[in-house]
Every structure is written in C-alpha cells, then in structure tokens.
C-alpha cells in the first residue's frame, strides 16, 4: 500500500528533474519533454489526492490535464519544426534574436 509520503516525494522528484531539464538542456525537444514530465508529476499528485479523499474529482482533472498536455505537445512540436525551417537549428542558445 503506497503511503502519501511516497507519492508526494516521487512527484516532487519528478517535478524537480523536469524543472532542471527545462533550464539546463539546450535542445528544444528535450525541453518540451521536460515540460511533459512536470505535467505528469502534477497528475501523480492529483491522483494521489483523489485517492486520499475517496472522490473522483482529482482523476477527472488528471484526464483533463492529459488532454492539455497533448495540445501543448502538438503546438510545441509544430513550433520546433517551423523554427528548424527558418533558423536551421533547435538549440536554445542559438536563438538570441531578442537579446539587446
């Protein structure tokens, strides 16, 4: 039987790894995957609290979050492809047009 501590701790670890990947990696694709990882950590928490309270609200919202994640990936990957067409790169360090 999973304790609440274990669920919260693994969710925290997954979110921290996703946050670190978002900030540290150069590749835009890996940054998108890190965002997905953070959304999944939030989903894990939602399901844990749904189970803790015995209601279904958290699970319903986890399903909605999954749909939002799919929409985000579709738009994000289209942006990456458009970026590659124009700039010929997907590295975050090479995209410094807004730098003063």
């Amino acid at each position: 039987m999973a304790t609440m501590n274990a669920v919260l701790f693994f969710s925290f670890l997954l979110f921290a790894i996703g946050c670190a990947g978002m900030l540290v990696r150069r590749n835009a694709l890996v940054m998108l995957m890190s965002a997905e990882l953070m959304l999944n950590a939030a989903n894990l928490n939602l399901i844990a609290f749904a189970r803790h309270s015995g209601t279904v609200t958290g699970q319903a919202f986890a399903l909605l979050v999954m749909g939002f994640a799919a929409a985000e990936v579709a738009v994000g990957l289209a942006l990456v492809v458009a970026l590659y067409r124009r700039k010929d790169t997907v590295n975050a360090d090479d995209l410094n047009l807004l730098k003063g």
Binding site: N27, E36, G54, F61
Partner: protein, 185 residues
Amino acid sequence: MEALLASIAKNIFVIFGLLAVGGATAMVASRSAVHSVLAFLFAMLNIAGCFLALGAEFLGMAQILVYAGGIVVLFLFVVMLVEMAKGKETNKAVFTAQAKVAAPVVVAGAFAFLAVFKDTVFGASAAQALTLKPGLAEGLDVARNNAQAVSRGLFADYLLPFEVLSVILLVALVGAVVLAKTERV
C-alpha cells in the same frame, strides 16, 4: 518466493516510482535526442504503472495510450525530421551556457521546497496508508468501478471544462497545421 512476491506487491508503487525517476534522469542526461525520447517513453510507462498502483486504472491505460501511442511517436517523427538531417552537431555541448547557474538554483530550490513543506512530505500526519473512503462518490466505488466513476465526474460534474478542452484541442490542431505548413500555398 512467496515472500518475495508479497513484498514486491506491497512496494509496487515505490518500484514503479524509482524506475520513473531513473527514466527521467536518463532523459535529461542523455546526449542523443533519440535516447532521450526512449528514456521519456520508459518514464511515462512507469508513471502509468504508478497510476495503476494508485487504483486509477482508466487513467493508467489512458496514459499508455496517449503517451506511448501518440506523443512519443510524434516526438520521434520530429527528432527524425530535425536531428537526423545533420549528424555533425553531436559533439557540441549538451547543456546550455547558463547551466552552471541553473543547476545549483534548481537544487537549492528543491531543498528550500523540502524545508518549507517537510511536514507535508515527511510528517507523521501524512504517514497513514492511502485508503478509500467508500460512500463519498455517490454510491460508486472509485476503486472498483473506476471508469464509470471517472466518466460520471467528467460528463456530469465537470462537463464545462471537458467541452472547453475539446475546443482547445481543435484550436491546437489548426494552430499546429498553420505553424508547420510550408510557406508556398
């Protein structure tokens, strides 16, 4: 053998959680984008296992369908389009120039979070095992009739967010097509 199986069944959530954390770490650390996508797939499948261990059968199956079936395939297609075209950049740096600052900031933030919320994560109040309180879900046992209970939540209590999500998915579909199409029409 029996004792081993019993202990595995008792700690199945922790096993899936550890595997998911390992997959996530491999995703962030691996140099090649294809390896990153495969580690991401591994992490997502183990998170689906976590969902199943928490009694959310419908969400676990939806996680496998959406991520392993849809999102990872999409990622692999884009990696094929973008990364494979030029293999000459494999020896360049994996991490950003700001990584030396960003990594300690994330670690410090993680420790600050644990320090602030240590009563929530490690405290005795949260130590009791997760159990279901029967009777709260309007006559439906969330664990036993999982898909039925989730559908009641989605289509009765939260119908408006569900419909808003369908509109957002349509907008994302059109937006992705517009963003990714070539200039000449």
